[in-house]
């Protein structure tokens, strides 16, 4: 045997194992990869920020004795009936169709116990969801699947969806295998065919039309309901300014880590900006229009715990939304189903073929046998537990920074661990007073 020293086999950083597997998959099937969820690549995120805490220059609040408020009021600009939530964490829009009726009910139950709102999705409002949700936001989407004035009046707020973080500029497609009789009936389409969701609204284009559309929805609902406008993280400074100009009560801003039911992998990973990069331009737009805290800002996309909540609020956000984390709290990707995930060619924690409707956890499916696995009462309780933990965590951090309300957190409570995060969040790099882009350098 040749004893000449040899170098170890070396894999390319550019052509890594995942990339090679995708080339082989594409070559074999001739179709792009579709999946659910949000961006999986490593991105600058809230983990790259730290709170400073209090010492001599700031007084902390006593952890278990001194009050730290968490309530938030949404829709104070024009709506006759703004909604008040006990916590600044809401449940993001996810459709019946994409999710089972049981999962939608569980989201409503969990949100209601925790004192917050949940949101419909592209497919209309189900009685299960309305019945179990004290505060329900009704999405108004380009497809208008299931849209009707009766449900509009039953809603507590209306969210006009312009885009979402996973695919700003993209529509949607619910594949035929998830179209049950009930889903088909709610969407006025035959069973078993792919249901496309358009990327633009059918009866308005541009900010001037949006203003007229918002006005119409207010007229239909007698100016009672807060009107949210949801945008993906494309050009947050301009898009937030235009949403405010069009008359939004609340702007919902979704970064690229925000999940979707299904779209192309290439879209999820290569279009849109990270959540962290979107917040400061959005807040700046509100401040320049003198609308910060008057038009509330909700941010979503990769919110996982109370620290993420506190950091988003410190950067100027009024509330956050969770989607992926809420599904995990219900039981999505639970190692309990590892054997079945393996049979689907994946592993717990990585399962993202939500569009195929074979979710072992019974959440992203319309298969009645799989859907039965999710107990809406127990799953709702898990979600409310999770929401409460997140809230307690955010309060813990706020008190440690001397704040009697989570909304009193501010950028000067933060520092950044990386130059990138410092530049995006516009807070100083840890150990310095340097904020990239400020003061001419």
């Amino acid at each position: 045997m040749d004893k000449t020293p040899r170098t170890l086999p070396r894999k390319s950083a550019t052509f890594d194992d995942y990339t090679l597997s995708e080339i082989r998959r594409a070559a074999s099937t001739g179709i792009y990869d579709i999946r659910g969820g949000g961006a999986k690549r490593r991105l600058p995120h809230f983990d790259d920020l730290l709170f400073l805490g209090a010492s001599i220059s700031r007084y902390p609040l006593e952890g278990y004795r001194e009050k730290c408020g968490t309530n938030v009021v949404l829709g104070t600009r024009f709506a006759k009936k703004p909604i008040e939530l006990k916590i600044p964490i809401t449940i993001a829009g996810m459709s019946f169709g994409s999710l089972s009726a049981q999962a939608k009910e569980a989201l409503g139950r969990g949100a209601t116990i925790a004192g917050t709102s949940t949101t419909t999705g592209d497919g209309g409002m189900t009685p299960e969801e309305r019945g179990q949700s004290k505060t329900l936001v009704y999405q108004y989407l380009p497809s208008r699947y299931g849209m009707n004035p009766d449900d509009l009046r039953k809603a507590d707020a209306i969210e006009i969806v312009i885009g979402q973080g996973a695919k700003p500029g993209g529509g949607g497609m619910l594949l035929g295998q998830k179209i049950s009789d009930r889903v088909a009936a709610m969407r006025c389409l035959p069973k078993g065919i792919d249901q496309r969701s358009a990327c633009r609204h059918p009866d308005w284009t541009g900010p001037d039309d949006l203003e007229i559309k918002i006005n119409e929805l207010r007229e239909i609902t007698n100016w009672e309901k807060p009107i949210f406008v949801k945008i993906g993280g494309a050009r947050p400074y301009y898009d937030v300014a235009l949403a405010v100009k069009a008359g939004a009560d609340v702007v919902v801003l979704d970064g690229m880590q925000g999940g979707t039911a299904a779209t192309q992998e290439v879209f999820i990973e290569h279009v849109g900006q990270p959540t962290l990069a979107c917040i400061r331009p959005a807040v700046r737009a509100l401040q320049e229009l003198n609308m910060h805290r008057k038009v509330q800002l909700i941010v979503s996309g990769g919110i996982r715990n109370g620290a993420d909540v506190a950091k988003a609020l410190a950067l100027g956000v009024d509330a956050v939304s969770i989607g992926t984390a809420a599904l995990v709290a219900l039981g999505d990707n639970d190692p309990h189903f590892e054997t079945e995930y393996n049979e689907l060619g994946t592993t717990a924690g990585s399962y993202d073929d939500w569009h195929e409707g074979r979710d072992p956890a019974g959440i992203t499916t319309q298969d009645p046998e799989l859907a039965k696995r999710l107990d809406p009462v127990k799953a709702g309780r898990r979600l409310s537990n999770f929401l409460k933990v997140m809230t307690l965590e955010a309060q813990t951090i706020a008190r440690a920074n001397g704040k009697s309300h989570v909304h009193n957190l501010e950028p000067e409570d933060l520092c950044a661990l990386t130059v990138e995060a410092a530049a995006m969040a516009q807070v100083p790099l840890a150990g310095t007073d340097w904020i990239p882009g400020r003061g001419g350098y």
């Binding site: 099937t29 001739g30 179709i31 497809s143 208008r144 849209m147 009707n148 004035p149 509009l152 497609m173 594949l175 035929g176 969407r187 006025c188 389409l189 035959p190 078993g192 065919i193 792919d194 496309r196 358009a198 059918p202 009866d203 308005w204 039309d209 007229i212 559309k213 006005n215 119409e216 007229e219 239909i220 609902t221 007698n222 100016w223």
Partner: protein
């Protein structure tokens, strides 16, 4: 007959008055004067009212209508009768883009021309246009009937689902997955009913029918060029 002057009470005054009427009201007939092209007139109605609008209206007139019968004695702006659920909306003049968009039910009659995207994403509404419709009409149309007594612009019925399209004049071009289909007796009967409801004199036999080839119903990469 009750009269409302939009110039005096504004759009909010009109809508709040009409919304306040119970479904079994005796005050069924209302006339709206001086609409002056304002947007969102008579939207979200939920009672069997008869409403005459004396003049031109802006965007979304009659939006999400249920049960009411509106007649617009003038031209209408974008999104007339959008997402209508039931009832009748009758435009005596022309209507702008996206007339009847996403409508679920009821009858929309436009005596004049409609613009582009007429019947876009329609979900069960019947639309009869006395004149012509613009490009991309019946885009992604899901259900219901669109009758065009004049001509249709480019890409008629692009990505259409199960809606039925009847055109008497020329079709500039058909959109993806939209084809001409056989006119069977049940279609002629349906068309006769719709033309009669819209007070049209044209004969069903003068029309041609278009609908979905159903080739794009389930995604296949071999059809990628069609999009």
């Amino acid at each position: 007959m009750n009269e409302l002057d939009l110039h005096k009470v504004g759009v909010r005054g009109i809508n709040s008055q009409l919304h306040s009427l119970p479904k079994n009201t005796n005050e069924k007939h209302w006339v709206i004067h001086n609409p002056k092209g304002q947007h969102s007139i008579a939207v979200g109605l939920d009672a069997p009212l008869q409403i005459d609008i004396r003049g031109h209206v802006g965007f979304y007139c009659g939006g999400m209508n249920k049960d009411a019968e509106l007649t617009i004695y003038g031209h209408a702006g974008v999104g007339t009768a959008e997402n209508m659920m039931s009832g009748v909306i009758w435009v005596k003049g022309n209507s702008s883009e996206s007339a009847g968009a996403t409508g679920n039910g009821g009858l929309l009659v436009i005596d004049g021309d409609a613009s582009s995207r007429c019947g876009i994403s329609m979900k069960g509404i019947d639309i009869v246009v006395g004149g012509s419709v613009g490009h991309m009409s019946a885009f992604m149309a899901q259900r219901g009937n669109l009758v065009v007594c004049g001509d249709a612009g480019d890409a008629l019925g692009d990505s259409i689902y199960e809606a039925r399209l009847y055109v008497r004049g020329k079709v500039a071009s058909l959109g993806a997955d939209c084809i001409e289909k056989e006119m069977r007796p049940e279609h002629l009967a349906d068309l006769e009913r719709l033309l009669k409801a819209a007070n049209r004199k044209e004969k069903p036999s003068e029309f041609r029918r278009y609908g979905s080839a159903r080739k794009l119903y389930n995604f296949s990469v071999d059809h990628a060029d069609a999009y």
